[in-house]
Subunit: 318 residues, 2 copies
């Protein structure tokens, strides 16, 4: 199949919004209902950096989409649509496109989002994938700025699983229950059910993609605040917890490994009960891991309140 | 400089819209004024496919932005903002980022557009660049569908220069005045002054990026129409014209070479005078190259009305 046959066969069926023009027009129309605004976000993932390259294409599609959905969730936005940029080696077979589109189709159902447009081009290098996600909002978005002294700091889900999953895939870490960790690395779980429920509760929010400490640093700078985060309070999966018991140095991976795609947010302590009931309702853990304090940077402390230092706070591409 | 220093140094100054949050929030807010809708388009360019790799980074930035602006112009949209996806080798130096941002800054002024957000990541392969452009509209967009029997077919500017420029760069074509052709390859001239002026005039429109015949085929299919295009009417630059006189087979490159970034549109013949005055006003040629007829495909004919056939109608990535 040539480029246009593939678009018609695999991707046009995913373009369910009328504004996508069935992908025939190389552009999409966004016609906002009154009172609606949009959040736009763009995350790229590349072979050998964000994924290893031997993953099934349906999982790559879902990782690409979900890393972006995580950004929408952090803003409190509801998924609406996305544009897709595929840069692929010339020899990419039809089966790859078919599997990629199948992964997208599943997640479109799961998250209520539609393909709007995009571009498929060849690359002479390795696979590069780019996605622009659009979320709808009827209120001002949650931002990284807004945290106040006295707020508590929360995270959703568990931290470090994905980083440990990558270590397992790279043969650096012999662990039992590797399937769980690998799944956490390959398939982020964007917290779309939590983000939009945080309006009126969270004072600042973001998603954790490059490591808790580095991302908390971004939130601190945007809010002109500091944080004290308690290592003992960090939510760990049973698997990550068992690994940490055996090798306490894995804490570095938990706080700075990246690929968590959990939400980090601040909220007044008075919201504790509301957050507990949100966690119960969504079946997604929401854990208080520390406090907002005066300052401009996050500090991780041990059970005795002593600061823990790490060589790097998170993943950096350059 | 690390990733975040580079964003703050080179890219944050380009984010002039309040909805870009100074690039601090990894997402942008689009708050539509009443009556405004948006066109979204996404084009990717990759090293070794859309550019050779030895181009100055400021020109790469401008090619990336302009290929997308060309799509906005084809819809009649006014440039508003863009999200940028840079996938770059680890060793990319600061100077590359500085030059890339300088190219963007110049074109932001030229076309009245602002950076809204994006992502910078490493790739283990060659350079891949992705951009999502957003244009504003207060009327329904120009589409590829809508051409009617009896309409004339028009193109802006001249065709084939960029394809010949690539041939020159690849050593395939010894030509005088190569600087002009190379410039046409490296620096598209999106017809932003023409597109929004075509409301109420054009019945269908698109931009030519992969070759006139292939792209005209897309317009024909979307409109359920055919076209008769006259080879003798195709607008050529003096340089391309001289090359064609020497080697008539270069017609293949003119009609199927790609990278023109000119507008192709159809309009009733009664609009001839209006279009002539638009061309005079913008100083951009608008040339009638044929007619819309019943059918489903474009046909290129010679001066005697005989059909001209080509091995491929345009550029295909796969």
């Amino acid at each position: 199949m040539n480029e246009f046959d593939r678009i018609a066969t695999y991707f046009a069926p995913l373009a369910r919004e009328p504004g996508a023009f069935g992908l025939r027009d190389d552009a999409a129309l966004l016609s906002p209902p009154p009172g609606t605004s949009y959040i736009l976000t763009k995350d790229c993932i590349t072979e050998g950096v964000h994924f290893i390259g031997d993953e099934p294409a349906n999982l790559l599609a879902q990782k690409l989409l979900r890393t972006n959905l995580s950004d929408l969730a952090a803003k409190g936005a509801t998924p609406y649509g996305y544009l897709l940029g595929l840069m692929l080696p010339h020899a990419t077979p039809d089966a790859w496109f078919a599997a990629f589109a199948r992964g997208l189709a599943e997640d479109q159902e799961r998250y209520g989002i539609s393909l709007l447009g995009g571009d498929t081009t060849a690359t002479q290098g390795r696979i590069c994938l780019s996605l622009t996600a659009i979320g709808a909002l009827t209120r001002p978005p949650l931002l990284r700025s807004g945290a106040r002294v006295g707020d508590a700091v929360y995270v959703t889900g568990t931290l470090g699983d994905a980083a440990l999953g990558l270590d397992v895939l790279q043969g650096k870490l012999p662990l039992p229950d590797t399937a769980f960790l690998i799944d956490r690395y390959r398939l982020p779980q964007p917290r779309c059910a939590i983000g939009p429920a945080l309006f009126g509760i969270a004072t600042a929010a973001m998603d954790i993609s490059d490591g808790l400490l580095q991302d908390a640093g971004h939130l601190c700078r945007a809010s002109h605040m500091g944080m004290v985060l308690r290592a003992e309070a960090l939510p760990l999966s049973p698997t990550a917890n068992a690994a940490m018991q055996q090798n306490p140095r894995l804490l570095q991976r938990v706080v700075a490994g990246g690929d968590d795609y959990e939400l980090l947010f601040t909220a007044p302590k008075a919201e504790t009960t509301v957050l507990a009931s949100l966690a119960a309702q969504t079946q997604i853990a929401i854990t208080c891991i520390g406090d907002v304090v005066a300052g401009d940077t996050p500090m991780l402390v041990d059970a005795h309140g002593a600061a823990l230092d790490f060589p790097t706070p998170g993943y950096q591409h350059f």
